[in-house]
Symmetry: C2
Subunit: 364 residues, 2 copies
């Protein structure tokens, strides 16, 4: 899709609100700063200033690297003894501005206080959060690339589980018990080999919540939920969740898998623009049709510079064309475990287009 560049959307908001500048301060991984500043890997605080005439990035560290990636007008050094929030006020003064300054609601309190003390009226805006919902073709391409790394990680998970065998009531892999931690390391190495940061890889065994250092061993027949959300060097995330069972006896897990798969297949075509309610309804209806209670945790959420961002299916948000969502279905049973499937899907004019493809079979 085409749409005004981020700075232009901010400037439109400045005109509508009769404000002199948009300002934000935060760390490199702050999605608003990533979106406007495109600066990765800068230690310390960053600031961004957008006015009708110019756009600036204040970078405490590595301004040379930031200069290579910032799509705006200038990169200024910051940091040292003066907090970035205070530096931003000086920059506005130097530009001869006064009046209202718009900021995201999460701007650090000290930055807002500096602006206030410098005589600006601080008011909050959701313009960047709004702009981030509908992805451009370039953003969607970045997410497709990171999603292929998620698929590579999942292939590795399936290969390790497939090469495991039952031994004394648990799975062994390469002559030692297969733990959630060993499985995670294999997956993360495969994601990193694709040039992406594994970041968040969670392995839930038998329905237990996943913890990062889990030494839980895996038993034949247990559900193994592999939840991947790698992040690319530009900050964009993918999301892929699959459930595997080694030496399963069918029964509950097989039915749960069919329900989850049916729910995804039924929900994706409903992803036309503004179909949020219909999508959630389809997800839940399909799970119910298979005789399961719809989980409060099944649903959809935006994926982009944040692992989970707007819109959500149940939050009354719109789904503009270009929105990238994870559709995430979970069927749980206290004794049988959890079956969970999630795909990354882009909203198109007439439905949803999956980014990446990975089999949904329970069998690794």
């Amino acid at each position: 899709m085409s749409r005004p560049a981020p700075f232009e959307q901010v400037r439109e908001e400045l005109r509508d609100r009769e404000a002199c500048a948009f300002v934000h301060v935060g760390r490199e991984d702050d999605p608003t700063l990533r979106y406007l500043g495109r600066a990765g890997r800068v230690d310390g605080e960053l600031g961004v200033v957008v006015t009708a005439d110019t756009s600036m990035l204040l970078a405490a560290d590595a301004p040379a690297a930031a200069r290579e990636t910032f799509p705006g007008d200038s990169v200024l050094p910051a940091g040292g003894e003066i907090p970035t929030g205070e530096r931003v006020g000086t920059v506005l003064d130097d530009l001869g501005l006064d009046g209202t300054v718009l900021t995201p609601r999460t701007i650090p309190h000290d930055a807002a206080l500096y602006l206030d003390e410098a005589g600006y009226a601080v008011a909050s805006t959701a313009v960047v959060d709004d702009a981030r919902v509908g992805k451009t073709d370039a953003e969607r391409l970045r997410q497709s690339t990171v999603q292929s790394a998620a698929c590579a990680g999942m292939r590795r998970a399936a290969a390790v589980l497939d090469a495991s065998h039952a031994h004394e009531g648990r799975l062994d892999w390469e002559d030692a018990p297969l733990t959630a931690l060993r499985l995670r390391r294999e997956i993360d190495a495969a994601i990193a080999a694709e040039g992406m940061a594994p970041g968040y890889t969670a392995i839930g065994v038998g329905g237990e919540p996943a913890t990062p250092r889990s030494e839980t061993t895996i038993e034949p027949g247990q559900t193994v939920v592999v939840d991947l959300a790698p992040q690319g060097p530009d900050g964009y995330h993918g999301r892929l969740v699959r459930t595997f069972v080694v030496d399963g006896d069918g029964g509950w897990t097989r039915r749960a898998q069919l329900a989850a798969e049916g729910a995804l297949d039924a929900a994706i075509p409903e992803l036309a623009p503004n179909g949020a309610d219909a999508v959630q309804t389809e997800l839940d209806a399909e799970v119910t049709a298979y005789g399961f209670d719809p989980s409060a945790e099944s649903g959809g959420y935006g994926v982009g510079l944040a692992r989970r961002e707007r819109p959500t299916l149940d939050g009354g948000d719109e789904l503009p064309v270009g929105t990238v969502l994870a559709l995430d279905v979970r069927v749980s049973n206290p004794t049988e475990g959890t079956v969970r499937l999630a795909d990354l899907v882009a909203v198109t004019e007439d439905g949803g287009e999956p980014l990446g493809a990975f089999p949904r079979s329970l069998s690794p």
Copy 2:
């Protein structure tokens, strides 16, 4: 070292400042929330509340996983339609508190406004930043473990460079040109296989600043600066920087390497408590003794839940026993390139103790 647990340090500050509560709101990767909440991998905003009598974590998502790791009293669900900042105010009201609430200076502005509107006086405190400077034995152990993953990554870098050979004026590895990006992928896979997040891996070739997608090829004789800062699942970072040259002709790079190595060796014993100025002086003096200008970028900085945090050697900060610092020396020349070495060192009663060890030779 032994010291009061984090919550006790916060409570001491509450007593000193006659405040009723400490509050912070942020995302999972916020170092203050990581330090007090120990919750990894929670989507959306988190909040933490510490009073004289209780400590609470508000988690928008995955409260079950957060409950397994939170060392305080209770984990409450948050999120939904109500911003976490507002929820925190309600929690304080429910506890029947009034008066002053202490927050880090970077608490999101909306959270501070909610507290203000709910009738609390909001004042800032650096108590958690102060507490984070001196690491406990447990924290140092986590950093040691993540530093071994940095060493594993560096070993992989050296192995790939060692297996490369000159071909048409550039290095080839496995029958294709070796680019900064190919090298980074190999390193990151090795770090991930150790169970750590590569996060930040920067490859600077010939003195150019590193960018994450750099397709720069590497020429024989060029300096290759490999800068690693992996992060463990608990959020703690390592730091290791080495410089390699394949088929170098000695000369400038060799002298620069000796200067950088000499500077590290001279500075480490000066790392007695409160020796910040002496450490910086030694670093610069040694570089000067080899006939180079001391770089403004040579120095030391704390490493912990943030990749770069307090103290800095030149910021007038103290260096209490237990401080973990990266000592980072850089010698640059516009035509010859950059030689940079950084080690992770803990401050002890009588000097510095390196965490992990990796050869400093230019030759891979």
